[in-house]
Symmetry: D2
Subunit: 387 residues, 4 copies
């Protein structure tokens, strides 16, 4: 084994991909949510499922929570439940879009009382961070408008800035605020944080603890996501990813399923910019509407691993040389050589070196977990988005 | 009044815009459905609301039903309820996407039993047409796949063709099958009827009673919808419209709200191709997620009227002359002259001549209907999509 | 005349729309440039044509130059030529994309010698600003890559920053640097300034004299341009516009031709943000590939005027009231009321009050200018992009 | 070697990918054409270069011509020149967009004289087919309009149908008409054949010899191209491909460069539908604006080969089984298993079995051809699009 391959393997062993609690619950479109057997009924059961993903992949050690979907009485106990299963609590995701008051927005709402309510929820999320040891507050706002004239676009920015400042102020040592942007949906005319530029401008004013989250499904058609990744890393403002994939809009398919080459290019810019060795959070944010959830999440973790492996295998020296000479085809060929490599054997080796089954999907199916939860969780109300 | 203006007014008086029963019920996104006060609880109450729209606009005489959302024991009685309120039943919209069996499709499903179930529902819809006097069966299939490889794209076309043929066979005298296409959602990789070409190819093979429906929100970015309208009219295959508007995807905003110039161009091609004097159905298909439903539907009807009025006002002779000379700017100016005209006074006159209030929105607000239904419909379960 | 209408008229009289010298020359697509009769052969003849546009509209007092397309020996003489025709020199547009050395970029090129050459050209443009009295340096970079791996995305940002800083340093009192962004073309994988966020981030670091230019054709499908305008005005970073319109990509059609409602919404945010009273530059940047150039430019100026007039007519008080109450339909209706107003009579009045013909297009056609230049400019080489 | 691998190899050996004469000449964007050393000056020199591509790949035996770019006095002699180099003449591509008369269109032009001129050119192209032995007439029309109202959309369809019928009538035994569609460019409002539906509808009326060409760069964002391929194959109407790739619009990059997974999915549907064993033409249509042309074309041919190899390796039996069971993840995994396979060793073997160097790019570079043409073709006028 060359030193290079050894370093690649080390990087792959140390990778950490966060899975989201809500991906274990039911999800769907506005047309239909298809319930699945064995879906968790409680936050603890979501953690139990997440633990299976980590057990089979070895690189999914943290779980993001979504409040109020994961609201419990005792967050410290929830964190201990995670810890006992080899997990830790990842980002706390705030939800200020599902109460009736939020029909016209939350922190950007024209009514100060609604804004106050939303802000209180955000501050509560920081409390939960304190209680669970989470380091990241993830903020996605559904705020926006559906019709031209509906509200004052600029005033909404002022309200947004005010709320963000209040939350930022509350952050403790080592805690970050990760601000997500999204082109559209559920707002269909304006969205108050529609692009990375808006998120970046707010984070810049807030300070070092505020960083931007790139959700790979939240862009206009044709957007070069890896460019944004490269620029944000250069600015020190890439807080993390919400991984998923899409053919059309925010389809929330398994990451790497729609455009594996794009995922590779993104991971290459991460590696190029040192993002894999920084605090950048690599989170999944997906919906498994028609496919079984746990194996879909394992597959997604594996897709990120494969893209990362290929990115790590790029011959950086040869690439730089070709780039410096302006040899377009040679430079492209260096990159494609890594992409065209079948990294599955390498990852199988990495897993075996970690004491894992080289085929996590097969191992999961053999484990009997699916059958067990189908049986155990027959009664009660399955977790879901509750839209 | 010139003969031309008189003809325009006559055309506007005779316009018929169909409203959909489901637009009176609650709707939303996958993130949240915001319930509204006064929303109907039954199909009859939806018809009552539709009657208000017709009373104030004079051009909304029919209502589309959606089965099973509008399932009743006695469809003939439902039709009489409509008739007593000056309405008739419009298109019957089939729903083969909300039963659990439809997770992987309906008429295109790999399992013949599911296909049979779906077909039975479509045939039931024709029974309902018979019972209600409806002339149109509107077919929109959510069928598709989310992941490459998930199913055989071509085999699904075969299954689709088989189901359509069976339904077509069942159609009675004067009954049409209107086939709708949609780029994506809820399927995110392939959709089995994704574009007008696919719908057209199937309708062509089926025969004269099968025609294409253009939903204005169901296209890829950049698609020239009026071109499709012109081509389908030329082919005798434009069955009707599902009007709404969008900035991004299938946003389902009020028609004319996002791009009034596009609506005008569409209506110009309709007028140019004689579609306003044919059996082409002009239906709304919208979601009023954050705005009150009845006034939003009235506004939508008015928006179609205004676009139609402008289209009718185009100086066709001057336009043809400029086009024949290849005078790009002059030809464009003729069209824009009509578009830039404020047709609201003309439409106010038309309404007064029809014995209506010239301002339908104001008249509705004065009518007390909103207050009355808010009070009367307090209890019980509001109608909605039931996703 | 009410005080309000009087203020609207005053604003319209004081409006200043800059026309670009290159719009008077031949242009086309990669498939064909269709030459037109009477096209200018020299920068002075372009100014002569621009003077006609100003003579008929009264609101087009400045002309943007493009170097080297408008290179002359004596720039001060060129400025005097403009002045004698009632014009002044507007923005100086740098061109670092047409020399053979720029095949792989200019200021972002991997080769320092090419970067130096490009920088020298930019500095020369500031010299030309000094000589002509121009206040604005407009920078659009064709820089980018066509293939993944072709060059180092992040290193290119470093090189870009270095060049911009050197140019910024050279700016004199009252001179601005306007940085333009563009999604794609002529680069087809990465573009080094692809979005407003990237332009904004660079301008922020440079200082107050650096501002962002919004070219209305340079966005991904679905981008909400008026949102960007509102945000940049809020940040004090909106330097100006390159107006044009598009259905697909950077089509460079006459502004307002493709989506007049969008242009209105943009101008509304300008008015809302005080941009019409600031130093924001309102420039056209269009190609008249198939239509005669001078009347097309006059029409474009008129389109901006009409959108501005409608924006000024918005009942801001009523709008704010409806917005504050969260009355979605009422707020939208206030905006639409202004949009649906036919402002052509108002603008005709404004022109008459300015001593102009109320119909600039007709007046131009009557003037005999088209016939005169067709005759006078028969010989010699017509100006064009020289691609 | 299993029977399966043997069959895959046989299919790969028999593959035929057509290269376009114009890809060997200079090309660019409207902003700049960067000339390259060694570019052919004559149609014969283009064939000489094409012969090198075939010599190194073994699967590029035919060359498409573009008239008038490849106009010669003696077409039979040109065909012999090809034959002597182991090539044959592929599709004849008509050009009715570069004469001044075509400013407003060709076969759809409002002026009958222009339409006649265009038709004559199309008929001349069939003469050239007769003289060269070409079997395919490829028709791409730049026809369309830039502004709403500019011309009558529907009348243009009538004119188009008339011209196509006249050309179809002229086709001889074994000759096909391949009709291409394109979303936009150079027309920016309407395009007369903008989508596969329009092309299909015309071809259907014309008859069996008329088929649709899919140019992979000619679609709206989000269009599922492999779906169109599957549907056209099912209808017996897939005439061929114009391969290239794009991130944004019709970028004309090397096929497989922007989205190799999409190319694989397309080739999978081809294989699934038997297109690789039919008369479907696999043509490249690309621009090599910044990269050296011959190696770029070799790379493109290799990219198609690799995608085809992966498509052929799909375990169809396992796929069908998973699809029939509705096992979404398993079905997707079967497809991805083939895609993730590194097929370069297999293709190297195939080449060696064909007596070729396993690395065509390296072999080309070693051949000295680039140096030779750079020297030999120093003088004279390089071939290009002549826009």
């Amino acid at each position: 084994m060359t030193a290079a391959v050894s370093a690649v393997k080390a990087a792959l062993r140390n990778q950490a991909i966060e899975t989201p609690s809500w991906a274990y619950g039911n999800s769907g479109t506005r047309f239909k949510v298809f319930a699945q057997p064995g879906v968790p009924r409680t936050p603890r059961e979501k953690l139990d499922d997440a633990a299976r993903v980590h057990a089979h992949t070895g690189v999914a050690p943290s779980v993001a929570l979504h409040i109020p979907w994961d609201r419990v009485d005792d967050y410290a106990a929830l964190a201990r439940h995670a810890e006992e299963r080899g997990l830790r609590i990842g980002a706390i995701n705030a939800n200020v879009f599902q109460d009736d008051e939020y029909r016209l927005g939350s922190v950007c709402h024209p009514d100060a009382a609604v804004r106050r309510k939303a802000l209180d929820h955000l501050l509560e999320c920081v409390d939960i961070m304190d209680a669970t040891g989470s380091g990241d507050l993830k903020l996605w706002f559904a705020d926006g408008t559906n019709y031209p004239g509906q509200d004052d676009v600029r005033a909404r920015q002022d309200r947004l800035a005010e709320a963000l400042a209040a939350v930022y102020e509350r952050l403790g040592e080592g805690q970050r605020m990760l601000l997500e942007y999204k082109l559209f949906e559920p707002a269909f005319y304006t969205t108050d944080v529609p692009d990375w530029g808006t998120a970046y401008a707010h984070c810049l004013k807030l300070g070092e603890k505020a960083q931007v989250v790139v959700d790979t499904g939240h862009h206009a058609p044709g957007t070069n996501i890896e460019f944004i990744v490269a620029v944000l890393l250069r600015e020190g403002k890439l807080g993390g990813f919400d991984f998923n994939s899409r053919f059309y809009a925010d389809d929330d398919l398994m990451v790497g399923a729609a455009d594996p080459f794009q995922l590779f290019r993104i991971m290459y810019e991460v590696v190029r910019g040192g993002g894999h060795e920084s605090r950048t959070a690599f989170m999944l944010d997906q919906c498994h509407n028609i496919e079984p959830k746990i194996p879909a999440i394992i597959r997604s973790v594996m897709n990120v691993q494969e893209a990362t492996a290929k990115a790590l295998l790029v011959d950086r020296e040869a690439l730089s040389a070709a780039q410096a000479e302006g040899d377009v085809l040679a430079a492209n060929a260096v990159l494609m050589d890594a992409y065209n490599t079948d990294v599955r054997p390498l990852l199988a080796e990495v897993r075996e070196e970690m004491g894992l089954d080289p085929d996590p999907i097969a191992a999961y199916h053999r484990s009997g977990w699916a059958e067990r939860i189908t049986e155990d969780r027959k009664d009660g109300r399955q977790a879901g988005w509750g839209a």
